[in-house]
Symmetry: C2
Subunit: 422 residues, 2 copies
Amino acid sequence: MNRVELVCVGTELLLSRVNTNVHLVSNYLNRAGLTLSRNTTVGDVQEEIAACVREALHRSSLVIVCGGLGPTFDDVTREAVAELLNRKLIFDPEVWEAIREYFQRRKVNPPESVKKQACIIEGSQVLPNHRGTAPGLLIPVNPGGKTLILLPGPPVELEGILEESVLPHLKKAFPSPEKRCFRFTVAGLPESVVEERSSSLFSRYEKEMAEFTILTGPGVIELLVQVFEGKKEVARKIEEELKTIFGEAFLGLESPSLPELVGNLLLERRWTLTVAESCTGGMVGSKITDVPGSSAYFKGSIVAYSNQLKRRLLKVPPTLLRKFGAVSEQVAIAMAKGARKVGKSDVSLSLTGVAGPGGASPEKPVGLVWMAVAFPDNRCLARQFLFGGNRLQVRERAVFSGLDFLRREIIGWRPKEKRGRK
Amino acid sequence: MNRVELVCVGTELLLSRVNTNVHLVSNYLNRAGLTLSRNTTVGDVQEEIAACVREALHRSSLVIVCGGLGPTFDDVTREAVAELLNRKLIFDPEVWEAIREYFQRRKVNPPESVKKQACIIEGSQVLPNHRGTAPGLLIPVNPGGKTLILLPGPPVELEGILEESVLPHLKKAFPSPEKRCFRFTVAGLPESVVEERSSSLFSRYEKEMAEFTILTGPGVIELLVQVFEGKKEVARKIEEELKTIFGEAFLGLESPSLPELVGNLLLERRWTLTVAESCTGGMVGSKITDVPGSSAYFKGSIVAYSNQLKRRLLKVPPTLLRKFGAVSEQVAIAMAKGARKVGKSDVSLSLTGVAGPGGASPEKPVGLVWMAVAFPDNRCLARQFLFGGNRLQVRERAVFSGLDFLRREIIGWRPKEKRGRK
């Protein structure tokens, strides 16, 4: 069995990059038919790094180390590994030339400290880094026929080297993968419901699957199905059954993110979108504009956090605000219609709710969110949601439920005779 | 030395929670004078979990395990640890009663599967969970006098038990901490500059400090200083010197986040804020409204992604857009003034830039962002930024630089005679 482990180095990794890097490495391994068994994260302490790598090499045939290849005093991965393997660090003129060119393109002279990034471990293969200075290193470790790969920590650089060098190497080194991984995505349902509805399906296929995992991603649930090589038709049968079980909630295989899905639907219909937000404070607009090219369909978002802006910019009638309050079906509808009009867009989405911890009442508890979608014929559909959790969780859930609500309504929309739904 | 390790369990941890949980545990350990030496993340595989815990107990005197205490089939931490320690799992009526009450408060009957969460490991102390169902377990491991603590994975529940039970236990178990940790924060400067400017200071104090680390947080740089117990005056001297070195960029000890700092400044002055965003698509509004109670000073954000909305909502003159383009000093100023006016607020912040990958030109490269702040006397100050990185990084850096720009301008603002700066 080809066991693979990851070691992440650097105290700062504890804060922000670990997620991204583990996810990136895990994805690329999956694409080569491999699975990550363990990730270990350590600070920039030479003995600790050496211990982690030694232990991981003992357990696994492939060990990837991320981070600690930078130029500053606390970057010691190169030194730790060289000492562990009892190999020399050798200055490599070709690597140094690539680093100098990298700086020259930016019209800066390379500082002296960068020179240590041109030192490579004896007997290693250089994996070029086109997005930064420190190259990756691929090191065959014998006896045992194991492989150690050192990669830089910044996610952009890591991804570049994974795509250009590591993935081709893995495909060559492991030409007949044991398993293949399929990622199916479901939106708009809680994890427990997804598990319940899919459990009988997966117990029927238990013998043909290598592994089955349910992952909670941002706003979507991922069903990770690993099948043994040569059993691809099993994955196809599972896909068909999932389609039947989940209907509109099933987003498919390797599907794009919710904001991308909404964007694609809008592009297909040549529709434009305006958003009106209150409790989400701009998070919906932020998610939509995460997608490059979203300016083709996104007009903007009016974050009307105060009632004054709801009146002034979205033309919500003051009587509605007084009579029903800002968190109500009536105000959600008025916000959606106002956003559609001011943005001169085909559709609009509005969200207004109680994110907490303050602002709740017995009738309007923390987690209550009203949303509305306005359509090209000015029909409008509102829906109530009640989310659990703290302020952050309520807001995040509102954003993804809002995007999924919009997605489903766009799919389901049919031009109708004048009567309309509301 | 009291070595501490963390083991995070659950495949989903690879995706979203690891960061939060490692950060939480690390913070609470720091508060008890302890430091996290290593974090290991594994999937829900019983043998793998047992191996990680066994190895960690071998190396460290305190091992904390997060996750895998849920009710579903793939939650196996309890079983893995019981088998490893060769102890029984015992049904605990008191724990079961607490779980039943938890469900009753939500007017739901506990499903049968939850019963396994009432099983505790022989010889362990129950750490009550007031925010969920699975309690934490504190297990003395002998011989060796080591301690194993099992905690649930959902961050909200984890934090509750860390605060209520784990921190008091650690303070009692390790009454004379070896070190104390101080976190100083600096905003608006790149990590390399912070390192350069502070390096001589820290080399002078090298002998009195146990450890010194620079962490890159969201929009701020944290300087983590650990001093040996009884050397608190060293931390105070370092704080004074940092204040001199960094001036306005120094946010201080255990400082609130940038959005909180901006909110506090606005509250002190009884000012309100409106934002006008383009390339950040709502991220600024989103960050500001992360802070509970922000409705006291935040009117809203006009996310004018299209030029049409810049004209309609922010009253940016079409001639400016034609002559200088949307990403320009002139348009940033017009956006800020328009936002201040439409929001009837005291101050406003505007951001307009090229986030990429499309939309760039030789004069306006990816990463160029113009920002402006408009003041109570309608004076307006614009500033140009050039950020490196991909779309995500440019947008994130713009958000935090924008908040820091606003923070500094609010601090520096003095009412002036009519001339004004612009």
